[in-house]
Amino acid sequence: MTVAFEEKAVLEFKGRMMMMTVLLLKDLEPNTLHRQVSQRLEEASQWLRDAPVVVDLADPENVDQVALMATVDTLRGLGVNLVALARNDHLDADTATMLGLGSISLAGGRDIPRSPETAPVAEESTSEATGTLVVDQPVRSGQQIYSRGDLIVLAPVSTGAELLAEGHIHVYNTLRGRALAGVRGDQSARIFCQKLDAELVSIAGHYRVAEDLPDQHRKQAVHITLDGDAMRFADLK
């Protein structure tokens, strides 16, 4: 054994096998979930209660973001030690990050194409088909709306609500919550809103918080674009 002496290492990577429990959810109905999970936890040994848990969804294709958030809240509320979301064709690392979770691919095990329907080709055509999402109900605090294309909202967006779109975001009402356009990195994405009172606006990862919004555009109709690294605000007249 040779020992090379330079700086004392302050870290060490360890390849360690760890036991993780995968929690496969077949339905996200909160009351049923709450009841069944708490029942299972009661029956389980302390070891299981402390175990790190990866959430996997039986039907990730039809999952709604809000329900997923509520599910994570429910599980955390019950003391489940959530660490990650199982990543697949329909749930990506961004979704996991949004939920405050890490993401892990369970592929390599049973996971690659679970059924012929989820083959990549079919998946691409569905994402093409889901274009613009139109919302005509108020988006309330705690709700989150994700569009694979553009997102059009015809009602107020409350403080604490979050709009995410891979394309443009239009709000034909007051925007008090957060609006994140071009979340997949589309720098040409834009945000339009009738009355800007947002907590945060973001285009392709560049963002401004409420404090940094230009004063002359507050509570005005605006059009926000990204110009290189700078966000540009213009009157929408």
Binding site: E29, R140, S141, G142, S158
Partner: protein, 271 residues
Amino acid sequence: MTKIVVVTSGKGGVGKTTTSAALATGLAQRGHKTTVIDFDVGLRNLDLIMGCERRVVYDLVNVISGDANLKQGLIKDKRVEDLFILPASQTRDKDALTLEGVEKVLNGLKDMGMEYIICDSPAGIEKGALTAAYFADEAIVVTNPEVSSVRDSDRILGILSSKTRKAELGEGDIPASLLLTRYSPERVERGEMLSVEDVKDILAIDLLGVIPESQAVLNASNSGAPVILDSDSDAGQAYDDSVARFLGEQRPHRFLTTSKKGLFGRLFGAQ
């Protein structure tokens, strides 16, 4: 036909129980057979506000778990005909409040010919609040004119739009209306409180009523008589207006502006 109404808010201490008691009493005063249920298992208060705390034998959880039948659990109000109270349990575990159990109780009340069932929701957005709201046909959201209360109400409205039985059955959102409580026009004028218009603008729902900040509410709680029975008080009258509006009557909103000072007030008034 029975109508189930949930009184909810998200935030605690904004006047849900006071409102539930006043609404139920007001409906019963008008001859509608009404039960008010306290869903706040572990922190029961409704019986105090209704002044029946010394007559509680059984509670909601007892009825659900079958220790008592519905008739034994219901307390008949002594002042108003057609008014019944189903108190919450102070001691039992709130996990006993299952949806199946609650549905059974509600169906029992329907069979008894109740016209209105008022569900006094616990604060928060946890299971208790969701259970209270699940079977509702209509919601009354109680809000104080301050930012955190408004935001919590907004959160609850979002939850109501997806977590009621009607929403799950695809029958759409249940109608929700706003009851603004502890409103002080003086403080609104001084810019210390949100105005009715501000709150309506943020929440974007119909306004059922505005209850002024009033000593009468505190007196009512202390004496165990719903404030609506104090018909001389501003808060009592405002609740009475709200009940009338709830039943479809058109009444102008009162107590929204500072009371005009008389001549002497203007001449000698402080401030």
